[in-house]
């Protein structure tokens, strides 16, 4: 058993937890973040990549709209390397109420969200694949953000301020004594070792898993209602700006250009278990139909991958009126002192990735209040490491980098232009990573071939590096291919079937199915 002692333990390595641990560390507290898996493996890694301008909420949720507009500016400034400032359109499609655009413009003016109506011809000139039947178009400052880079950026910033980030550490119990938190018990999943972290404060940032975590402290049940949303990545950028339907927020009304793909989203279905999110055929068809409204011919485009995420919605009648100071629309801080008579724990739920920094500020402010301390939040002022220049991401960045180093390093993933050096550096930085963990940071296997060429290269390199035995490397490859398939088969049609068949022939040439079996299958 290993022991640590810190001021604050942050549970959950999504955007909220990463933002919180950064904020806590910047305010001078010693802190540890624990997550049962890798950073950004839950909801944060399973959204569409939209950095809201606020436009989506100008009519339905004005407070959120203002928050989004403000936070969009801040995130673009402090995490510029994770953000692409694509801009966006809200368009009135055939059959949509054209008067909603008037409400939209009025709402934007009232909430401080920048918006400007442009002519249909200008919109179609800039986005030629848009439905030519649109009747109105409003330009907004939507952008896209890479959730994994956002989380890793915040986590690295926190490390810089002395925090420790412990991935693959599953919390088993939150110890209490005399009505106050005393320690967090975890299992180090990679070593099978127990870790006990003595602390007086726990910030529960578990998102859809927040209820399960609160229960570990013996708190009254926190009712989390995970809302499942599916997203589909289409090959290429069908649009270069975020395109939203100019309607009251609904399913399948956003198309987001992210890196080399465009992502259509999303649905909202209540589910019981955030660990088991199905990608239902009817929802896939619903997304394809929705895509067809925005971009005619959408169905004939190539779908690459689908995934489902769970919104972290907390429905809790026990949140008392005294908490509202730290609550705003869409996010909620639960004070377990007033609610459960338990000191030293706060839970946060709701919110959205765009406002992750603000959520962190709210919950850490609340913690400082409870501790009776005045420590100022500085997260909005300082850029995270790697974003100091303020230069935002461009889709062409990797191409420029590979042009630069093409005589120095091999290209291991042609689809996503990932070099051997990028892969080796990431392995060295995270020696215990699975290929999926590396994928989230490098986009390994996320392009059209979905691992057909790069998966065996990654295996060979990981093994040649000496860190893994052939058996371990082979087991990681088997897991990687299995996980790729989870997001492939629900959307497998058209050109992607052709790719899958080619991949199957390649794997037959290599006979990967008959590599000597590992002693035990790797499952995470």
């Amino acid at each position: 058993m290993r022991k640590l002692a810190v001021d604050v333990v942050v549970i959950g390595g999504g955007s909220t937890g990463a933002g919180v641990v950064r904020d806590v560390a910047m305010r001078g507290y010693s802190a540890v973040l624990v997550d049962r898996a890798d950073l950004g493996q839950g909801t944060t890694g399973r959204f569409h990549g939209l950095l809201h301008s606020g436009g989506r909420y100008v009519v339905s949720d004005p407070l959120s709209a203002t928050e989004c507009a403000e936070e969009n500016d801040i995130v673009t400034r402090i995490q510029s390397s994770a953000v692409e400032t694509t801009g966006g359109y809200f368009v009135t499609c055939p059959g949509d109420d054209p008067e909603f655009a008037d409400k939209f413009l009025a709402g934007a003016a009232a909430t401080g969200v920048w918006a400007r109506e442009v002519s249909v011809s200008e919109a179609l000139r800039n986005e030629p694949r848009l439905n030519p039947g649109i009747s109105r178009a409003i330009e907004v400052k939507d952008g896209t953000v890479d959730g994994w880079q956002l989380v890793w950026g915040a986590a690295n910033s926190a490390r810089h301020y002395g925090a420790e980030i412990l991935t693959y550490h599953r919390v088993t119990k939150i110890e209490t004594s005399g009505g106050a938190v005393t320690a967090v018990r975890c299992i180090d999943e990679r070593r099978g070792e127990e870790l006990v972290i003595d602390t007086n404060f726990v910030l529960n940032c578990g998102g859809p898993w927040a209820g399960q975590i609160a229960a570990m402290a013996g708190a009254h049940p926190v009712e989390v209602v995970p809302g499942r949303g599916i997203m589909i990545a289409m090959n290429h950028r069908l649009v270069n700006r975020v395109v939203n339907r100019c309607i009251y927020p609904a399913d399948g009304d956003i198309l987001v250009p992210a890196h080399t793909v465009s992502i259509i989203g999303t649905t909202d279905v209540k589910v019981d278990d955030p660990d088991h999110l199905a990608i239902e055929p009817n929802e896939v068809q619903q997304m394809l139909d929705a895509g067809e409204v925005l971009v005619p011919g959408f169905r004939a485009s190539r779908a690459l991958h689908a995934w489902a995420g769970a919104r972290p919605l907390i429905k809790d009648d026990r949140v008392s009126a005294s908490d509202t100071r730290h609550m705003s629309r869409g996010m909620a801080v639960i004070d377990h002192t007033t609610r459960d008579g338990l000191d030293g724990m706060l839970t946060i739920g709701g919110g959205k990735l765009t406002t992750y920094r603000l959520m962190a500020e709210h919950i850490v402010d609340a913690m400082c209040d409870k501790l009776g301390e005045q420590r100022e939040c500085r997260t909005a002022r300082e850029a995270i490491p790697g974003s100091e220049s303020g230069r935002t991401h461009k889709v062409s960045d990797r191409l420029a980098e590979r042009e630069e180093d093409r005589f120095d390093s091999q290209i291991i993933c042609e689809c996503e232009l990932m070099s051997r050096k990028m892969f080796v550096d990431a392995m060295n930085a995270q020696p215990e990573a699975s290929f999926d963990d590396l994928r989230r940071q490098l986009r390994l296997g996320m392009g059209p071939c979905q691992g057909g060429f790069c998966s065996t290269r990654a295996t060979g390199i990981a093994h040649a590096d000496g860190r893994l035995s052939a058996e371990q490397a082979t087991a990681l490859m088997r897991l990687f291919l299995k996980n790729r398939w989870i997001g492939l088969w629900p959307i497998l049609y058209g050109e992607q079937v052709r790719q899958t068949a080619l991949d199957n022939w390649i794997f037959a040439t290599l006979d990967v199915a008959h590599l000597p079996e590992p002693e035990s299958e790797v499952t995470a």
Binding site: Q410, T474, L502
Partner: protein, 414 residues
């Protein structure tokens, strides 16, 4: 006018065209892309897994279910086709229909195949063999350390064990390159100068009687390149196939194409055949998308050798409907439930068994067993009822069905 039009230039199309031309028929071969040979391993698989590892492929052929393409072709067409390939391409294919080679792959599996290139067969795994697997730093699709370690921990099909180690050679295909393609290396190995440089770099690293495993890039146009290198090294060498582009596959493709041209097959590359016409229930012509209005090719007989999903011969649309894309032929294997499932390492996806069913003369049939068109034949990956990459049976099915179809057409037209 040709008497027969063959559509598709994979192994099935090339064998069919050659056999028909050999029988004295005027043949036109239409093809859109490269043909599947250049994407495969460059050996001839007949039956590798059924589902256990197959030692005697022709015996496995004789034991298939009635829905399998081999049931339509019969074992004799397989034997006929294999004998034909060995006879026509003696420098490129050797082997025994009754005994698979068991050859190392580029990740270190042991892969069964029936006919192999002479440059590959020293790799056939044997108890007590000592192998040294040679990587080239600038060639990213070959992992010598992984090959060696996986082979070393493998119990061989005969229960034995071999030992394998790895070494590296640092030699760019062209000066300054760090990321050379297999084709770049194959062209380099075609030159004596590069073989000398390679042998000079490798020789000091070799011990005793070690058998030397190399990535399959040792020469593209010079069929003796590998023998020359082996002589220079003074060791037995063997080539291990890589992912596409496949140099051994390109060798087979070049040889079969050259043979077809020599037999007066008219080859029209780079054209997609997209339409057809009928007269009195027979196929009268097919039309390619070449130039305005396309170009029409009438014939007495047509061979559909367009492949499967990988080539676009079969298509699954976003509403989950499968279609044969040229003739809209009736398909077997659809409508029996879900086409796909989520278990990647589990049973074969039913989708990939979908294809056309044929009668005993290799003509596509409707659900009642009647030929869709009396003068349309099918061969290769378009056939229903097998999963070539899972059984490692794709080449054998292609060759046997092409031989059987060519025989039926020859009989019909003469």
């Amino acid at each position: 006018m040709s008497r027969v039009v063959v559509i598709g230039a994979g192994l099935a199309g090339l064998v069919a065209a050659n056999r028909l031309a050999d029988a004295g028929l005027a043949v036109t071969l239409l093809h859109k892309g490269l043909g599947g040979l250049q994407l495969g391993q460059g050996s001839i698989d007949v039956f590798g897994y059924a589902p256990d590892r197959v030692l005697n492929p022709i015996k496995a052929v004789s034991q298939v279910a009635t829905s399998h393409p081999y049931a339509a072709t019969g074992s004799s067409a397989v034997l006929d086709g294999l004998a034909y390939l060995k006879q026509e391409l003696p420098e490129l294919l050797v082997g025994d229909p009754e005994a698979n080679y068991q050859l190392p792959t580029a990740v270190g599996s042991v892969r069964p195949t029936c006919l192999a290139q002479p440059s590959m067969i020293a790799g056939h795994v044997r108890d007590g063999a000592e192998l040294v697997i040679v990587g080239i730093r600038q060639l990213k699709d070959f992992h010598p350390q992984l090959v060696a370690e996986n082979l070393s921990r493998t119990v061989l099909p005969d229960g034995g064990r071999l030992s394998a180690r790895h070494v590296w050679v640092d030699l760019p295909a062209r000066d300054g390159e760090v990321d050379s393609s297999p084709v770049g290396y194959a062209r380099a190995f075609d030159t004596e100068a590069f073989r000398i440089a390679f042998a000079t770099a490798l020789s000091p690293q070799l011990n005793g009687d070690e058998i030397v495993g190399l990535p399959a890039v040792v020469g593209l146009t010079d069929p003796k390149a590998w023998r020359d290198l082996a002589g220079k090294l003074g060791h037995l060498v063997f080539e291990i196939p890589l992912p596409p582009p496949s140099i051994p596959g390109m060798r087979l493709n070049q040889a079969l194409t050259a043979r077809a041209l020599a037999a007066n097959v008219r080859i029209v590359p780079g054209v997609r055949t997209h339409a057809f016409s009928t007269v009195a229930g027979r196929v009268a012509s097919v039309t390619t998308a070449a130039g305005p209005g396309g170009r029409t090719y009438p014939a007495d007989a047509f061979v559909l050798a367009t492949g499967g999903f990988e080539s676009g011969a079969l298509e699954l649309d976003s509403h989950q409907v499968v279609r044969e894309t040229l003739f809209g032929l009736p398909l077997t294997g659809v409508g029996d439930g879900a086409l796909l499932h989520g278990d990647y390492w589990g049973p074969e996806q039913p989708l990939f068994r979908v294809g056309v069913s044929v009668d005993d003369r290799m003509r596509p049939v409707d659900p009642w067993g009647a030929p869709a068109y009396p003068n349309l034949w099918a061969a290769g990956g378009i056939l229903a009822g097998a999963s070539g990459w899972r059984e490692l049976s794709g080449d054998g099915i292609a060759v046997a069905s092409a031989v059987a179809a060519a025989a039926a057409i020859t009989k019909e037209l003469s």
